[in-house]
């Protein structure tokens, strides 16, 4: 009887605790003597702090302590930026956990109150008197980079934190020689990640031992430990970070935040456990946001429909400070992907990372790649239109032909494998593209605004080779490690350093071990999220966990298989070369009735009554997997929309996704990732975007104002896939967490622009709210 489940959509092993409400998230943790922190945040987008008076707050009921930035002097180091991109003149101005003399965005921490209850702490915040002197404010990233704009940091001229360039071929020559060029300005709105669980931290410090325990809503507890050590000065081996159940992150729980440092600071000062949990409106101010790009872009092509060049100038808003990974997002994860799924021989891009008076911007699902894919896919549609070619046909002509082991693109990276045309053809067939175009023609004849949009895309995932990480300034490695441990009864624990928080790896990792060693999936338990009982790992982001930790688990399992073979040979009194393995059984070739099961081997290895000469007891292996290259998942998505010309309302009617994430361990989970990713990508196309007024006040301060996708606004998504294994990964995996988000924004945007094309409308800033669309339609009708 086979135990194999690899490749099948088995139900998730983590679900029973979640569907019964039994899973503890950080805010559910209650420690004896625990007190509660609340943080006072700047109401101004830019101001000098003239004075702070905490005396009234300190005498409020239940208040234990009030601290300001001055109290952290010499105790807390500044918040670190950990992606120091080279060759960019990067500036990393000081970012204190609690602002001392100047605040730079609405939400900047100014003081913290610790009290017996959260109600008491929040009450006392209102009694802190702060005198501010307001300063000039700038929000738009392009405007912020101009001379004369309000300056956020005295030593950062024109707010330009870095200037980073990417080039390949000769773009200027390509544009000079082009038959057709198109240009556009694309605005990627500032987005709020919105995991349903707000961030939270619980800190407990045992002064007698110098030990700090931090429960944290982190996607990467080992990085959190590393950076907690840097900021608090507590040595790394005396810090334990636990990410218990984490309720989504989407990148916003990667950074190391002031709030965690402040919570730890309070616990260390007071000697009692301290909990801090953000409210949702606090999340909208203080949790890192995504995108915020102004992209001036152009594409060159020849009259036969061949793309010859791409040029960009991008202003990427960084917010008020550089968050943990921020500089890498609009550069390494963005500019290097400018060739997209196409052969674009000549590429030139300049990216300005610009400080503005907003919440710091960092990785948000897709991180840099949605911003790249959107500009490429929009230019592809515009170029096809300029050449009067069908956008699908134009894509087909320019797609990189099928390749199985390495393809160089002009930006200098090497895609691993791809069959882009297959996903295009599959998607067009699934959607009945010709039928859709015929229906569109009929609708247009009736005066209806029906649009069809698509994107053929490729993403850089499975981050990544540590040597490359170092070369591009990432202040860490990007390998993962795993320990696979067999107990005497043949049951298995796997300890991993990455920390899934909804992606289902407690199931897919068990499926890997099951596949490699023939144990039932239910006999494998995955342990993650606690730095005290897991090996080092760099965390869950960048569609990397299944790929990189999965690689480590596969290699650790294979070490166990090798040891098991040797032990089986010893027990069966045979030569190891004569031992065969099949589905959890080891036997001498030709006599498989005398097999030793992996469970037999686990018992004998653990009791160690009879081991081969020199073999250590136990059945456990650890492996470190540092991927030799990134992975490059790809696909084609297609959407149909209808725009109501009277109201500007957009009806997303149908959506087809064809994804290729390499080999799939659990297709049900893959499909779920695509569903969720697509909906997060639709969000900014149609609804989502942070709005600041001219004073830097966020007008989208709650879920009432920031329009998240809701169940009733969406159609079912038609999901299909192709399988092109990664040639360099032990299991052929590529990763799928971000795919849908990367694809859906340009797909839906292109669909709406296609709907408006008969009116001569070529661009409307995202999100495509009814008002903006209605205005564009009316301007066009009025000859605007």
């Amino acid at each position: 009887m086979t135990t194999r489940s690899f490749g099948s959509g088995i139900r998730r092993r983590e679900d029973p605790r979640l569907i019964t409400g039994k899973a503890p998230y950080t805010d559910d943790i209650k420690l004896p003597g625990m007190v509660h922190a609340a943080i006072l945040r700047s109401p101004h987008a830019h101001a000098n702090i003239k004075s702070i008076d905490t005396s009234a707050a300190a005498s409020q009921p239940g208040v234990v302590a009030v601290y300001t930035g001055a109290d952290t002097d010499g105790v807390l180091a500044g918040m670190p930026c950990a992606w120091l991109i080279p060759g960019s003149d990067l500036k990393t101005p000081e970012h204190p956990a609690i602002a001392k003399d100047r605040v730079r965005y609405v939400g900047d921490a100014v003081a913290v109150v610790v009290a017996g209850t959260r109600y008491e702490a929040e009450d006392a915040l209102e009694h802190i008197e702060v005198e501010y002197e307001t300063l000039g404010v700038v929000i738009n990233p392009k405007a912020a980079a101009q001379p004369g704009a309000a300056q956020l940091h005295d030593d950062v001229e024109n707010n330009i934190a870095f200037t980073w360039a990417v080039a390949g071929g000769d773009a200027d020559a390509a544009f000079a020689a082009a038959d057709v060029t198109v240009s556009d300005t694309i605005t990627l709105p500032r987005l709020i990640a919105n995991p349903m669980e707000p961030r939270s931290a619980v800190a407990s410090y045992m002064a007698a031992m110098g030990e700090l325990t931090l429960w944290s809503t982190s996607q990467n507890p080992h990085i959190a430990r590393f950076l907690t050590s840097v900021v608090t000065g507590v040595p790394e081996h005396k810090i334990r970070v636990i990410a218990p159940e984490v309720g989504g992150g989407f990148g916003s729980k990667i950074p190391y935040y002031p709030d965690e440092a402040i919570t730890a600071f309070c616990a260390m000062k007071l000697g009692v456990p301290v909990k801090w949990t953000e409210t949702r409106s606090e999340n909208y101010l203080a949790t890192t946001q995504g995108r915020d790009h102004v992209e001036e872009v152009e594409m060159a092509a020849t009259s036969d429909g061949t793309i010859t060049g791409l040029r960009t100038t991008v202003y990427a808003g960084m917010g008020a400070y550089l968050s943990t990974a921020a500089p890498g997002v609009p550069t390494i994860l963005h500019g290097l992907m400018y060739s997209g799924a196409y052969n674009i021989p000549n590429i030139s891009g300049t990216i300005y990372g610009v400080f503005n008076n907003g919440t710091p911007v960092d990785a948000y699902r897709g991180a840099g790649r949605p911003e790249a894919t959107t500009l490429i896919e929009r230019l592809v549609d515009l170029t096809a239109a300029a050449l009067d070619m069908d956008p699908a046909e134009f894509r087909r002509k320019n797609l990189i032909p099928k390749f199985e082991n390495g393809h160089d693109v002009a930006t200098g990276i090497i895609y691993d494998s791809g069959d882009y045309e297959l996903t295009l053809n599959t998607c067009l067939a699934n959607a009945d593209y010709e039928g859709l175009r015929a229906a569109q023609a009929a609708a247009r004849a009736e005066g209806r605004l029906v649009g069809i949009g698509m994107a053929t895309w490729v993403e850089i995932c499975g981050l990544g080779p540590s040597q490359v990480a170092g070369a591009v300034g990432f202040q860490g490695g990007l390998w993962e490690s795993a320990i696979v441990r067999f107990h005497p009864t043949g049951k298995v624990n796997v300890m991993v350093g990455s920390s899934p928080h909804g992606q289902g790896e407690e199931t897919t990792f068990a499926q890997i071990v099951s596949e490699e060693l023939g144990v039932p999936v239910e006999d494998v338990e995955i342990i993650h999220g606690d730095t005290d009982n897991t090996p080092m790992g760099w965390g869950t982001y960048g569609s990397r966990t299944t790929v990189v930790s999965g690689g480590a688990i596969a290699f650790a399992s294979r070490k166990i298989k090798e040891k098991s073979k040797e032990l089986a040979a010893h027990l069966l009194e045979a030569a190891v070369e004569d031992i065969e393995y099949d589905d959890g059984r080891f036997f001498v070739r030709g006599s498989d009735d005398q097999a030793k099961t992996i469970q037999d081997i686990a018992l004998m290895a653990n009791v160690a009554w009879s081991m081969p000469e020199g073999m250590e007891p136990g059945l456990e292996a650890s492996a470190f997997y540092d991927p030799p290259n990134f992975t490059y998942p790809f696909g084609t998505h297609l959407a149909v929309v209808e725009v109501n010309a009277e109201t500007g309302h957009i009806d997303l009617q149908n959506y087809w996704a064809v994804d290729d994430c390499g080999v799939q361990i659990n297709p049900m989970i893959v499909e779920g990732q695509v569903h969720g990713g697509v909906v997060q990508g639709v969000g900014p196309a149609l609804w989502e975007g942070v709005v600041y007024d001219d004073n830097g006040q966020p007008l989208t301060g709650t879920m009432q104002d920031y329009a998240l996708p809701r169940a009733d606004l969406l159609p079912d998504i038609n999901v299909a896939s192709t399988t092109t294994p990664s040639p360099h990964h032990p299991l052929g995996l590529k990763g799928v967490g971000e795919a849908g988000t990367i694809a859906a924004t340009p797909t839906v945007y292109n669909a709406v622009m296609d709907a408006l094309r008969p009116l001569g409308v070529n661009r409307v800033d995202m999100p495509l709210t009814p008002e903006k669309v209605w205005r564009a339609i009316n301007d066009a009708k009025n000859g605007g």
């Binding site: 029973p16 569907i19 039994k22 349903m196 669980e197 569903h675 998504i717």
Partner: protein, 157 residues
């Protein structure tokens, strides 16, 4: 100033003195120690705090504990003993109707009310019934499928 309250949660009576301003969700989480009900926003948009108050769904972040005094509250923990799952729990599991799990208790409590009132909802009706519950992970599709499956298992079609 404190006010006495007595709330029956999942069949057990919890009584205590609370501040008049204390939210029901905090009473459930702090006083009753039932942390399956979550706090996801401050403005009753997200639905992670959805419970059933005298049988009807309510966002417990927008109800005061004193308002609920004398009432019966059902939370996710009361839906099953955790071993024999409610058909909705089973269906969310079967259909991959959750990822991070944070919205799930509220989603299931809202779905339970839907199926009591409409045992055989269409996908469209399910989507409308759940428009007050936000999920950022699943894109809702598998949640809709799960509610559909549970409807079938519970005798609807």
């Amino acid at each position: 100033m404190s006010v006495p309250v007595e709330i029956t949660i999942n069949g057990r009576v919890f009584s205590g003195e609370v501040e008049p301003r204390q939210l029901l969700v905090h009473f459930i989480r702090e006083n009753a120690g039932l942390t399956g009900t979550k706090v996801g926003c401050d403005t009753s948009q997200c639905g992670t705090c959805t419970v059933q108050l005298d049988g009807a769904i309510a966002k417990s972040c927008t109800v005061l504990a004193v308002q609920a005094s004398g009432s019966t509250v059902n939370t996710i923990e009361g839906l099953s003993d955790g071993v024999d799952l409610h058909p909705l729990q089973e269906a969310f599991w079967n259909k991959h109707g959750l990822q991070c799990g944070f919205c799930t208790p509220g989603m299931i409590m809202a779905s339970e009310e839907l199926l009591r009132n409409n045992p055989s909802p269409s996908r469209e009706e399910i989507r409308h019934a759940l428009e007050g519950n936000i999920c950022r992970c699943t894109g809702y599709q598998n949640i809709v499928s799960a509610v559909e499956e549970a409807a079938g298992a519970m005798g609807g079609s």
